[in-house]
């Protein structure tokens, strides 16, 4: 069965038709050509497809694995993908920090990790090392060994605090 859905992605309103069994990941990648969100396992186990979502009526965004969300569920929701993290060419402090610390290698897990890290800093601006590790436990990375990623999140937290001052 097909559904006509309205939702926003990165601030832009969309109207699309999706089959009941299609996932949000498929809709983003195949219908909206937002391919920064990656497909690593289609089983909710690797975190490469993470996006931020604000459900209708919710007061804030939360990270979800988009392969685990069926398209009809997102009617009325607001979604932010990796393509929506930067604004007008201005990178998010996390994105800057990932480049500077060397936290990206092959880059395939990077969008999902940035999404989860952004969700962490939005709810906890000053996370401890253990809190960062716990927040990213659902994101697999085979290249970096995670240490630079932890450094990058700490660096971005500092940058955000300084910007608030």
């Amino acid at each position: 069965m097909n559904h006509t859905l309205h939702f926003t992605v990165n601030g832009e309103p969309y109207e699309i038709v999706a089959a009941s069994h299609h996932t949000l990941l498929q809709v983003l990648r195949e219908q909206l050509a937002l391919t920064g969100t990656k497909n690593g396992c289609e089983a909710g186990e690797c975190g490469a497809c993470a996006v931020l979502i604000r459900w209708p009526g919710a007061d804030r965004f939360e990270p979800v694995n988009s392969c685990m969300v069926l398209a009809p569920e997102v009617a009325g929701a607001e979604i932010v993908t990796i393509e929506g993290l930067a604004h007008d060419d201005q990178l998010d402090p996390l994105q800057e920090a990932f480049i500077v610390t060397g936290a990206t290698q092959c880059g395939f897990c990077t969008p999902g990790i940035l999404i989860n890290a952004r969700a962490l800093l939005d709810r906890n601006p000053d996370p401890s090392d253990a809190e960062i590790r716990a927040a990213l436990v659902g994101n697999l990375c085979r290249c970096t060994g995670y240490i630079r990623i932890l450094d990058a999140v700490k660096m971005a937290a500092r940058t955000r605090k300084e910007a608030l001052r």
Binding site: K38, I82, G145
Partner: protein, 797 residues
């Protein structure tokens, strides 16, 4: 063109000290990767004509195909292509041609491709697979390499004697042994007689998965002229072109391989795995593109896995710690096809002493066919597996003799000018430095912290050394083109792939250094075999060294063209000219001219005529000095191009109540010759160490009668952010490589080689338990600590 740099390796072409080498510019594709803009194969648009391919796989480990009926699948609306082994009966393979794109008459592992379909949607493709009928006659299987090597084992490849293979591979027809590499050096009887302690032990390494986060994916399309384009997530665009063209009997220029960004490889995307099937489908798809994308489950056991190993190590040592003799037998679980695996066992054979001087040594390295998934190359192939045993063995013997394992390693480790086990003279190496620095950084000689008697958590340290040579044919080539653009920037074309290791950034640095321009003024292209120059493969930690030489030479060639033009136009001696920060300068007249004024249009001579033209530099490199080894003794003057050496030291905490191991700190020290980009070298060390830690503590493909039991991330865990060590230290040692660009040699694979034995040694140091099989699980440690309570089935091997 000469094959090695024509100047001293540590200096640039102008004779200056390099200004960009040893600096750490940021990853040149970093912005694309953090914004989601970097395009991987699965991200490329192919429009509504795209067909979705899927593979019908064998559910049994070994059997004859009695009948395949694809008529119902073909009749299903929306199905456009169905192919089977009948359509492509030719053999393929990198070192041994033992494999077909689809099984023809016999299947040899669970998951083997027997047919493929391409359909308008994935849903239709899945239904078509279900409609394909295959009737098998099951055969007894081989699920253990030692049994497989015995005369009692059923033959997995009765035709082994008819397969084509590389001249340095020695199949044993009539057996399951597809390669037998031998080392025979010295006098074993004398070696054993000189020993005060002789110790023999068995070590076991299971199959593991590479786990690139991007699964294998490719798209193939044939145009009206018959030319095929393959978009492939690959470490080996040129090897894919070569192997697929030969397998399908088409011309090399009739096949074009395009590789955009690659989401990790670790060896799994070397050579050919799924790509032949996509091309086979495309050849029947009437011009429509066909995509083949592995699911995560397929990724776990149908592309490549790391081979399993059973190693018997016997070593003799004097009471002061000198190694007198070594006798090693390696039984490799090569899986159903060993087209790549035969070279893994060869590499393990010629490295079989570990990084030590051993005067008397026998090594037998057997590549054994089994009915398991296909063993392929994985990061440092062969080395992580053999060092797991060798490095524990050294520790165990040192401790039995009451000696310090670090001192025993320093005593025996290969020094400049000593003979390796194959008779090659060891080149200058920083191995001793690496061992000393790693030991110092972990606080090897520091007194252990006081143990809280009430706590059941204990701390200890361990260390392991390593060596590894690029494992490859004697003559793998690299080439590069450096083109100058109107604005004075340069575009570098290479055939090697940045799979995350940072090759594009290192090549940009080398091109910028060779030309005399800024790194930010260099663009590096991803690979398209129609436009990129040849590169053998992105494997063996060889790009910085081999492709780096080609890029540097191409840049210096372009530089020379530019300076010749200027010398003629200005009436100057070329030796008085240089290029600095994108400007040609004359040291004689102090005149300067930006490159953008001359690299395309040339320069005007005083008489008004013009000289020069578009600048295109070319470079190439191929080692010309590797010698064959005697098939009976493994001896020869130069087995390999060079060895990168190193050492890791770890501190662990072991919970005596649960057996759980926590890695607190990993120190890595490697001799990289010269670090082109030190920060990227450190990220390779760190990422490799954590991958090594993950394989040490967590990873194993559980195979029962050939059936994988855990092909998903819930049952096959890899290290997460929570598991990563609290601290790492990454130490660069630089003893220059004589034929490396500015002295560089590779380090991409090495950082995961010694991690598992270092952790095993640390576990022994902490709780006195020797774990001889990977992974080092809490269950194994607990069972060894509590032998009375343990279930015998859990007792460690």
């Amino acid at each position: 063109m000469s094959q090695a740099p024509h100047h001293k390796p540590q200096l640039s072409a102008s004779g200056r000290k390099p200004s960009l080498i040893g600096t750490s510019p940021l990853r040149i594709e970093g912005r694309a990767k953090v914004t989601g803009a970097a395009t991987y194969v699965d991200d490329m648009p192919f429009g509504p004509a795209l067909l979705h391919g899927m593979i019908k796989r064998s559910p049994i480990a070994h059997g004859l195909i009695k009948r395949i009926d694809v008529s119902k699948a073909r009749a299903l609306p929306g199905v456009r292509v169905v192919v089977t082994g009948q359509d492509f009966p030719g053999y393929t393979g990198l070192y041994l041609k033992d494999r077909r794109i689809f099984a023809l008459d016999r299947v040899r592992y669970v998951g083997e491709a027997v047919a493929a379909v391409a359909a308008d949607t994935p849903e239709i493709a899945q239904r078509a697979l279900d409609l394909i009928e295959v009737e098998y006659e099951p055969l007894p299987g081989v699920f253990d390499p030692e049994f497989g090597a015995s005369p009692a084992a059923p033959l997995v490849h009765p035709d082994l004697g008819n397969y084509e293979c590389a001249p340095f591979i020695f199949p044993q027809p009539g057996t399951n042994i597809s390669n037998w590499f031998k080392v025979r050096k010295g006098n074993m009887a004398q070696g054993w007689a000189a020993a005060d302690l002789i110790y023999e032990h068995r070590y076991q390494v299971p199959h593991i998965q590479h786990v690139p986060l991007e699964p294998h994916v490719c798209v193939a399309q044939q145009d009206v002229n018959g030319k095929i384009t393959l978009w492939s997530s690959s470490q080996s665009p040129f090897a894919q072109r070569n192997l697929i063209a030969k397998a399908l009997n088409i011309g090399h220029s009739q096949l074009r391989v395009i590789t955009p960004y690659v989401g990790g490889g670790f060896g799994s995307k070397a050579g050919v795995s799924i790509e032949g099937a996509a091309v086979a489908l495309a050849m029947h798809a009437r011009g429509r593109p066909v995509k083949l994308r592995m699911t995560r489950e397929e990724e776990f056991y149908t592309t490549f896995v790391r081979q399993g190993l059973v190693a018997y190590i016997k070593m003799g040592m004097t009471k002061d710690g000198r190694i007198t003799a070594v006798e090693n037998r390696f039984y490799w679980d090569g899986g159903a096809y060993t087209e790549y695996g035969v070279n893994i066992t060869r590499a393990a054979g010629y490295s079989g002493s570990g990084p030590y001087f051993v005067p008397n040594i026998h090594v037998d390295s057997y590549c054994v066919y089994t009915n398991h998934p296909i063993g392929g190359p994985m990061r440092g192939f062969g080395m992580a597996e053999i060092h797991f045993g060798i490095e524990q063995h050294i520790d165990q013997m040192a401790l039995q003799l009451g000696l310090d394992p670090v001192q025993v390693r320093l005593l025996n480790c290969l020094k400049d000018g000593q003979e390796t086990l194959t008779g090659m003279i060891m080149h200058p190496t920083g191995l001793s430095q690496c061992i000393r620095k790693a030991a110092e950084a972990i606080g090897w000689n520091a007194a252990p912290p006081p143990q809280d008697e009430k706590s059941h958590k204990r701390r200890g340290k361990g260390l392991a050394a390593m060596w590894k040579a690029p494992a490859m044919p004697p003559n793998p080539g690299s080439s590069a083109v450096v083109r100058l653009n109107e604005d004075g920037t340069a575009t570098v074309s290479i055939g090697g792939v940045d799979i995350g290791q940072g090759a594009m950034t290192a090549m940009a640095q080398l091109a910028a250094e060779g030309l005399g321009i800024r790194v930010e003024d260099v663009r590096v292209n991803t690979v398209d075999t129609d436009y990129s120059p040849y590169e053998w493969q992105t494997v063996a930690s060889r790009l910085t060294w081999s492709m780096g030489n080609a890029v540097l030479q191409a840049a210096e060639n372009a530089r020379h063209q530019i300076l010749q033009t200027v010398a003629e136009a200005w009436g100057e001696d070329i030796n008085d000219l240089d290029i600095v920060d994108g400007q040609v300068v004359s040291y004689r007249t102090e005149e300067a001219r930006p490159l953008r004024d001359l690299v395309i249009y040339g320069l005007q001579r005083p008489d008004g005529t013009w000289v020069g033209g578009p600048v295109v530099g070319q470079g190439r490199f191929m080692p010309e000095y590797v010698t064959p080894l005697d098939p009976e003794t493994g001896q020869g003057p130069r087995a390999v191009v060079h060895f990168t050496t190193g050492c890791q030291a770890v501190e662990v905490e072991v919970d005596e109540e649960t057996g759980e191991v926590t890695v607190l700190k990993i120190v890595s020290a490697y001799d990289v010759g010269r670090a082109i980009n030190p920060e990227m070298v450190r990220t390779q060390m760190e990422g490799g160490a954590v991958q090594g830690m993950s394989t040490a503590l967590l990873e194993q493909i559980i195979l029962k009668d050939g059936v994988p039991a855990n092909p998903n991330f819930t049952d096959y865990r890899i290290a997460t952010a929570v598991d990563a060590p609290l601290e790492t230290e990454n130490i660069i040692v630089e003893v220059p490589q004589d034929d490396g660009p500015f002295g560089a040699r590779g380090v991409g694979e090495h950082p995961m080689v010694p991690t598992a034995p270092a952790i095993a040694n640390a576990v022994y140091n902490t709780v006195g338990v020797r774990i001889s099989s990977l992974p080092i699980t809490g269950e194994k440690i607990w069972a060894a600590l509590h032998p009375q309570e343990a279930d015998p089935a859990m007792t460690p091997v």
